[in-house]
């Protein structure tokens, strides 16, 4: 009897095991069948920034990796086309299409400052809504997995939030980016040069990450000046003073913010009295003074020219975006390039501060996507934030922002700029500026005025700042974005 009972209980266990394995093998197949797009072929379109590696990496990974993932896990075929548009015309390209309610571009790699301009007319999907409620009209469930834990709050406010200061989310980070300092160690850390510099200036040129970390901008200016030797076709630093898109502003703001100035008051959207301050004027003067250490024609220098100057050995250092690390670090210079935090500034009260500009771009979803394309876009984003995808993105040269990836012990060593990137992607070290719907208008205005000052067309920094602040205040006020009207003095504001 006991034997029979033992045998029957063994049989029951075996049967249960078989049943369990059967269930386990059927569940994935069921879930594959359950995907509403299983068996279909979908063509997706991504609009991204032309000539910008992180953008093309996103599209490339979509075709290289997501296509297989979707086939395996969801059972549908998908292909991605990638349309490129330069920084300065990406928004116009997107706006022209979205304004007509078109789904020409299903996923857009926008610049962070465009969030307001894309969200206000209802052209992109409210990610908050997608996370909490899904898109019921399109049969898409809530997506709590897209509620990301990012490495720092500055990444959230930069790539996700509009209006500034709110908690509303409209984008998801595609590429994180910050400004870092690229150093040619073969030039800067040459023992003879270091000795000569120390003898002349009384302090040593930094040679480690930690030493660069404590370097001040005053000291950096001395280093840049030391290596500015036009007769040898060598200059101290490459920056970006070009009028194109936001290049000049992005290099000027770190001077303002680090010295204690602000671009605006996001709570009241006030410009006048915030932007046009003596401390910001001092920052502008300082930023212009840096032109003494840059290659000739630095006023036309954008990202590409900066890369060229650095890789051709025409500059000793370069303040550049971490996102172009792959272009800055070539096979030829790999062993002689150090990537460190950019210099900190000493404020009037003696404290030090280092607040540089945030770069990088968010993914945004076209609100006019039909149900099938929206579903694929959501699947794609869920895949994009899988740990293994984020790690692969970093290995290919991208800059993830998800906390888990950046906190991975291997992350710092994946790329030579990763340590500096992570160091700068902190709340008190990097900052973005207005995500307003009138971003383009406000930006064009200040790019023109600031570069005119840099070129010597105007020479009174405070008057230039006052003019820009007044005009921007007027734009915000005219468009109902602020209740603060430009003061009467603005009528006489004129750059000098």
């Amino acid at each position: 009897m006991n034997r029979v009972s033992r045998r029957s209980s063994r049989l029951v266990v075996i049967a249960l095991l078989v049943l369990t394995s059967l269930v386990l093998s059927v569940v994935p197949a069921m879930s594959q069948d359950a995907h509403p797009l299983a068996g279909q072929s979908i063509e997706m379109s991504i609009l991204g920034i032309g000539g910008w590696l992180p953008s093309s990496l996103g599209a490339q990974m979509a075709n290289d990796l997501f296509v297989g993932y979707a086939q395996e896990n969801y059972g549908y075929n998908v292909s991605f086309t990638f349309t490129e548009s330069p920084f300065e015309s990406l928004f116009q390209r997107a706006a022209a299409s979205l304004q007509t309610g078109s789904d020409e571009f299903n996923i857009i790699i926008s610049d962070s400052q465009w969030l307001g301009a894309l969200a206000t007319p209802g052209w992109i999907v409210d990610i908050d809504g997608l996370i909490e409620n899904g898109l019921p009209d399109l049969g898409i469930d809530p997506q709590p997995s897209l509620d990301l834990e990012l490495f720092s709050d500055v990444a959230r406010t930069t790539y996700q939030v509009f209006p500034d200061g709110s908690d509303e989310i409209w984008g998801l980070p595609q590429e994180g980016d910050v400004q870092v300092l690229f150093v040619r160690t073969d030039i800067v850390n040459n023992p003879d040069e270091m000795a000569a510099f120390e003898a002349a200036n009384g302090f040593a040129i930094p040679s480690t990450f930690e030493e660069w970390e404590v370097l001040t901008m005053d000291q950096f200016e001395l280093i840049a000046g030391f290596f500015t030797r036009p007769d040898q076709d060598l200059y101290g630093v490459a920056m970006q003073h070009s009028i194109v898109y936001d290049f000049y502003s992005m290099q000027l703001y770190p001077f303002m913010w680090s010295l204690g100035g602000q671009a605006w008051d996001p709570a009241t959207r006030t410009m006048v009295g915030v932007l046009d301050t003596p401390v910001n004027a001092e920052a502008m003067e300082w930023n212009r003074r840096m032109l003494n250490y840059t290659p000739p024609g630095a006023l036309s220098m954008g990202i590409g020219e900066n890369v060229d100057a650095f890789t051709q050995g025409k500059v000793a250092t370069s303040i550049q975006w971490a996102a172009v690390g792959l272009s800055m670090v070539t096979d030829e210079n790999r062993d002689v390039v150090a990537i460190v935090p950019p210099p900190q500034f000493v404020r009037e009260d003696g404290t030090t501060s280092r607040v540089y500009s945030m770069g990088g771009q968010p993914w945004v979803l076209n609100a006019f996507n039909p149900a099938d394309k929206m579903r694929v876009a959501v699947d794609f984003l869920n895949w994009w934030y899988l740990p293994e995808t984020q790690l692969e993105f970093a290995i290919r040269g991208g800059n993830p922002t998800v906390a888990a990836t950046l906190n991975d012990p291997t992350f710092d060593d994946i790329n030579p700029w990763n340590r500096a990137y992570k160091y700068m992607l902190q709340n008190d070290r990097a900052q973005d500026f207005w995500h307003e719907p009138n971003y383009a208008e406000m930006l064009a205005l200040q790019q023109e005025a600031f570069t005119a000052f840099a070129a010597g067309e105007y020479n009174d920094a405070l008057s230039v700042l006052n003019f820009v602040a007044c005009e921007q205040q007027q734009i915000l006020f005219d468009n109902g974005r602020t209740e603060v009207a430009p003061p009467d003095e603005c009528e006489d504001a004129e750059p000098q």
Binding site: P121, I243, G297, S300, A444, F453, A454, A455, E457
Partner: protein
């Protein structure tokens, strides 16, 4: 049931004429329209007229309508009737006047230099008909005109580039002198205008050659027999015959130059020294997406261009009237 007499002559005659299908009937009627001498010109011009109405008249009317509204694409519910507020705002706008004055300087010097250079080079080519390789030289000379402004802008931006550009390499190698063109607000405008002149002088050469070809050979031979000086030949024979074509060339260049955008945009000069009116319009329309204000500015520019054209046509008419009067007396 009575059988029809299929062999009757009337029936046979009917059978010889092919059956008239509706399509055939329509085509015959349509063909007949072309026989009407009054209708024919209307029919011939109709496709162009329809194209013109659909693509020119309707958009222009639409634009005129929008110019009275506040309408910014990126701001929802921004559509509101403003009357002439956009126009008064533009007239009060300092940037608009600055842009317009820069544009007038651009047109005046640009078209002026292109015309003078074009005429001189055109005369030289006209007088060197037996020069070996003339045809090849002409073809090469016209190349800049064929290059798109975008390509020309990028091309010259690289040439002018002080760190990597060939111009600076040349001046530094041979004269030890660094040249900053686009970065210097005092010369940037002229450096960009030079590119426009480089591009469009060939057009004025072409126009000059066309004008010279319109001069009757007999009159030139007579002038040669009479040993008229070249100055007199130009004054009394060439200019009276060729000035209409030249004027047309200048008119076309003026209108085109007034609209210059791509070249200047591509050169990316710091500050506002090259901010022509078309750049302002582009910023307003495609960056700020301010459709109402941009439409009003576009209408003002359209009226300015029409004013240019009218002045030229008036001068041309004056000349033809004077000529007709001369012939009559």
């Amino acid at each position: 049931m009575a059988q029809a007499d299929l062999s009757s002559p009337a029936r046979l005659q009917q059978a010889a004429v092919p059956a008239m299908t509706p399509l055939r009937r329509f085509l015959m009627r349509f063909n007949r329209l072309f026989d009407d001498a009054r209708l024919l010109p209307v029919l011939l011009i109709a496709p162009v007229l329809i194209f013109f109405i659909v693509w020119n008249v309707i958009p222009t009317l639409w634009m005129i309508g929008l110019s009275f509204y506040r309408y910014q694409i990126s701001i929802p519910d921004s559509l509101a009737f403003l009357g002439i507020d956009n126009y008064t705002d533009i007239i009060r706008d300092r940037a608009m006047w600055q842009g317009l004055s820069r544009t007038f300087i651009w047109v005046f010097f640009g078209v002026g230099i292109q015309t003078l250079l074009g005429m001189v080079l055109g005369f030289l080519f006209w007088g060197s008909k037996s020069m070996p390789g003339r045809r090849l030289a002409l073809t090469l000379l016209f190349t800049p005109m064929i290059v798109t402004p975008v390509a020309a802008g990028l091309f010259f931006r690289l040439i002018y580039e002080p760190t990597f550009g060939i111009l600076n390499w040349f001046t530094q190698s041979f004269f030890g002198q660094e040249v900053l063109l686009l970065q210097n607000p005092e010369v940037a405008f002229w450096a960009v205008l030079f590119v426009d002149i480089w591009m469009w002088t060939p057009f004025m050469i072409l126009i000059t050659l066309a004008a010279l070809a319109s001069v009757p050979k007999a009159e030139m031979e007579a002038a040669e027999i009479d040993r008229l000086s070249w100055f007199d030949r130009i004054r009394y024979i060439i200019l009276p015959h060729g000035k209409y074509i030249l004027m047309l060339g200048i008119l076309l260049r003026t209108i085109d130059s007034f609209k210059t955008l791509d070249l200047v945009y591509l050169m990316a000069v710091p500050g506002s020294t090259t901010k022509l009116i078309a750049i302002l319009l582009r910023e307003s329309a495609f960056e700020a997406l301010n459709v109402g204000w941009s439409s009003a500015l576009a209408i003002i520019l359209l009226l300015t261009a029409i004013a240019f054209t009218s002045i030229y046509l008036y001068i041309l008419n004056l000349n033809s009237k004077a000529k007709a009067k001369e012939v009559a007396t």
